[in-house]
Point group: C2
Chain length 342, copies 2
DNA sequence: AGCGTCTCAGAAAACCTTTTCGGCCCGTTT
DNA sequence: AAACGGGCCGAAAAGGTTTTCTGAGACGCT
């Protein structure tokens, strides 16, 4: 085919070009640019100027081939659309981007076959490591122990305890949520949460119960498991108010549920936070700041999870692999929906 | 440092290993595995079995170095957290992932310096092309014409008309939204939208006006520009109802605004959709399906934008670059908040 | 003068794969 | 019988960089 009429598309300049312009060999040019000592200062300067003039950028592909390390990692996510993957991905990208590591993004769409395909493709590209990001906190199958590169699991831990997993501390999240409500003077606390098939729902409920038990208290009724939706929040609240009209706080399993809860509370004439305090989980900005009043919520620090995973992978590549599941603390973000009882 | 105690980390097998096991030269092994014709069928079979047994995966780095094409592209996004980048990114990842192209993800955090840094790093890795994903539909500065690889701009067009940009048709989106409301028999249509500094707000308003003009109608009052928030939706609706209590449809600049609008309509006793139809833009699932009733919204087909960008980049790499801004159609997703006037 | 030492530059190998070209063997044609 | 052609395989180069090793020149010392 004839040459396209587009822009220049000239070949990138190579080290040979630089060396020729500087009047030295490629070996010397390489040493000059990489700060090796075997070069006279004056020669080094000449090489640097030549590289500058040709705007030389070393070919990382060639460098990777030679070094056996490419300076790339694979980021394998299960559902890109899910809002949990994104902050983790940002944290990882952030931690790597600061250094000299580039990230291959792959979305497996939750499909095992596709995941296998991506793993193979990434290994073919000789990535130095892999981060596997799940979409739920439930344990997931390991990629296996026989991979030629280190792997770190983020958000969804691996089922294999020999793998390293970085996850938010869901039980702790339940505890600090209740601790905050207790600090507000609430004692009749109900818990409306999502699908009991999710570890996140069960773990948070367990943490909430434990924190209440520590204070010599118990939940108002049983935790109400259901769905992660506003609709369930509304329905559950209606039932709750019928049975326990004296509740003074509702801990919700997600910000979406919390919005449904607050809607029904307001419709039934309960003031938030004066009569009933409401809390959510996930700290999803679009929901927490748009609700009336703004919603207190537990942030899972997902960016930090991503950063920690990136850092762990980095040290594993360096030759010091850890293993086991590491729980990172969450934090309460206080807004208008919780306040001390007056 | 001593060898780490972790898993094997053995060197990946190379073509030489395969060739040795099969008792042939690397050249023959390569030809056998790549379906070249210069190999006897029996020999080919032996090589394939050897490769199988060693689970050989060709080193894409070496292949890239030789071929001058790496089979990688850079995806440069401005704000990863923004919900507009993600679907585009998914579409692109999808379109590439099907083939043999891997995607480097870089987030510039909206910072020009960081963007430059990433572009240079990506070029150092010899990507075959770049996709630049913006966070708003407003034009953005070009990366320049002198890059050694093709570039496609997605969502946010380049200011340089010589570049190729793939964007959703915001004006058309406004038109089809009004067309839908007209088809429902609505004639007194108001428009409450977001920050007038955004091209998306202005373009949609323009499209809406044009569609109404085609029908011999006009908006009820002027378009109400404000902020992309529920709060603005509520405030603007209050003002609207005071001045024009006979409005029978509100076209909202975003789903968030629409939620605020619907809240106030319901509080003031207007039924949706019987008395007033409400529409949003963006089709953000968490908002549209959780509202009461579920919200009709205009979907910008962002995944398709991403796929189209990937496809355009692919053909540009193949040597047939296009240029200019290409507008992709949006679509109306009908839910309960709009219905024919009875 | 001879020898050792030090500094700096270049040649060459290595990384892994693909492709081109040359050569060998065997069967076929003139 | 000689030439030829085709099928099959291997040697070698190429891609760009880094690193090691060798060598050349300069200098100081005996």
């Amino acid at each position: 085919m004839a040459r396209a009429t587009g822009p220049s598309r000239s070949q990138p300049t190579t080290l040979s070009d630089v060396a020729r312009l500087a009047g030295v060999s490629v070996a010397t040019a390489s040493k000059a640019l990489n700060g090796r000592s075997q070069v006279r200062a004056e020669t080094r300067q000449r090489v640097i100027e030549a590289a500058e003039r040709l705007s030389f950028r070393p070919n990382q592909v060639a460098r990777g081939l030679l070094a056996g390390r490419t300076g790339t990692v694979g980021l394998l996510t299960s559902d890109l659309e899910g809002r949990f993957s994104i902050p983790i991905l940002m944290g990882a990208e952030d931690a790597f981007g600061a250094g000299e590591v580039a990230v291959f993004l792959c979305d497996a769409r939750g499909d095992v076959i596709r995941e296998q395909h991506h793993v193979r493709a990434l290994l073919g590209r000789r990535v130095d490591g892999l981060i596997v990001v799940g979409s739920r906190t439930d344990p997931r199958p390991s990629l296996g122990r026989e991979l030629p590169v280190p792997v770190v699991y983020a958000y969804a831990p691996s089922e294999d305890p020999e793998d390293l997993s970085i996850v938010p501390d869901s039980v702790g999240a339940g505890r600090i949520a209740v601790d905050h409500l207790l600090a507000c003077g609430r004692t009749r606390i109900a818990h409306i949460t999502g699908d009991p098939g999710y570890a996140a729902a069960r773990d948070r409920a367990e943490g909430a119960r434990a924190a209440l038990a520590d204070a010599g208290l118990a939940l108002v009724g049983e935790p109400r498991f259901g769905a992660w939706s506003e609709g369930w929040g509304r329905a559950a609240t209606a039932m709750l108010l019928d049975r326990h009209p004296d509740v003074d706080a509702v801990l919700c399993g997600s910000d979406q549920i919390a919005r449904g809860v607050m809607d029904v509370l307001r419709e039934r004439g309960h003031r938030v936070p004066e009569d009933v305090a409401v809390m959510g989980f996930d700290n999803w900005q679009v929901l927490t700041s748009a609700s009336r009043p703004p919603l207190t919520s537990v942030d899972m620090n997902l960016e930090q999870v991503g950063r920690a995973a990136a850092h762990a992978l980095f040290t594993a590549i360096g030759g010091a692999p850890r293993s086991g599941t590491e729980n990172l603390p969450c934090r309460v973000v206080i807004r208008g929906s919780t306040a001390p009882l007056s």
